[in-house]
Symmetry: C2
Subunit: 221 residues, 2 copies
């Protein structure tokens, strides 16, 4: 019986970086959910319609349905996958190492990504009249601020290896790589972040990251 | 030997809701760190000065120093405390329950709080000229949006008890209560969220939450 048969269902949008994180984690764990595509722009946003709201009242992707239970929030989903499918591990064994990996992950997931989310950009444009240039500057500001701290933490740290923490992918890389894709999409200057760029390139050569990329998703445009 | 002797040091600011979360968790675990106060407004912000940047290059509070290791990101710190001091538990035992609690916590920690952080309000005011009324409206918008989804998830859910999940405090309550304090400070209408208000009142009657409140901190103004 495959996981698809066991009722694992992922609600995803190719360009959502939170969905991208969960796609990477599922690939690393070797899980193959049934896919449902939620188009965040079409018809004013399919995530705002009653069908998807019944899955996730917060109207954000991704959601993962596990045996009839709808899980949401990408990091809560990934921690669940880690607890229920421990191999390969996405967190180190030692508590201090786990705290370091989660810290790096939350620096992206709490302090960069939410500020640049589609709904935030829509509000800045619609309610406060920010121009497209101002919106780009807004996004680049938070990315650069967050990446500067991230680069300082990973460059030359003894814990850093081929990936953010050691030589295998962790939750930190799962958050970093989609954020790098967002940064590239708006032409952010990444030259101050050579360690982050190196780790991104390493990760993208891993089949689990490569197959999770937005451009190769069935709903990619 | 007390925890203070073992070199547990908390960098905190009374009004920071991320620091408030960690204070609650430390109190629940019965840990008493040495306190260092980082004033976020004085002198342009003590968190931006080299002394604190050496502790946390991200210039955000809180940070927790454990035997010479500086941990940061409130949720990474609390997960560390949970792993190293399992009693009383701040997460349920079952994987689906843990996913529910983390989901509720991240709904606050990722999708409400970062949008209303001091540095974000400063940038909206300084760079884009938002008025004080517009800033208040901005904050209330994200709080109301997030609380609407939270209320929908906790009201009438069989998992909800005296607290967000069962009858004892979890990571979800630790995130909810400081966010409620922020909501009250800017006079957000909480009447649509009776379950959240009830849980807040339950939590504030618990000594660990009560003693963590901003107004009773040594650096309160």
């Amino acid at each position: 019986m495959t996981d698809r048969d066991k009722g694992l269902q992922l609600y995803t949008y190719f360009r959502s970086s939170a969905a991208y994180r969960v796609r990477i984690a599922l690939n690393l764990k070797g899980l193959k959910p049934e896919l449902h595509f939620v188009h965040l722009l079409r018809g004013g946003g399919e995530q705002l319609q009653p069908g998807y709201k019944a899955v996730n009242p917060q109207s954000l992707v991704p959601a993962l349905v596990v045996e009839g239970h709808a899980l949401a929030q990408s990091l809560a989903i990934i921690e669940y996958l880690e607890e229920t499918h421990p191999e390969p591990p996405l967190l180190p064994k030692d508590a201090l190492g786990r705290a370091r990996v989660r810290r790096l992950a939350f620096m992206v997931a709490c302090d960069i990504h939410p500020l640049n989310n589609l709904r935030v950009l829509r509000r800045l444009r619609g309610q406060y009249g920010l121009s497209e240039d101002a919106l780009k500057e807004w996004q680049q500001h938070w990315i650069t601020l967050g990446f500067t701290a991230l680069e300082a933490l990973v460059a030359n740290a003894p814990e850093t290896g081929r990936y953010c923490h050691g030589d295998t992918p962790t939750l930190a890389d799962i958050c970093l790589v989609p954020q790098m894709a967002n940064a590239r999409r708006i032409a952010t200057d990444l030259s101050p972040f050579p360690t982050l760029v190196r780790i991104e390139q390493t990760a993208l050569s891993h089949p689990a990251f490569d197959a999770a990329q937005p451009k190769v998703q069935p709903d990619a445009e």
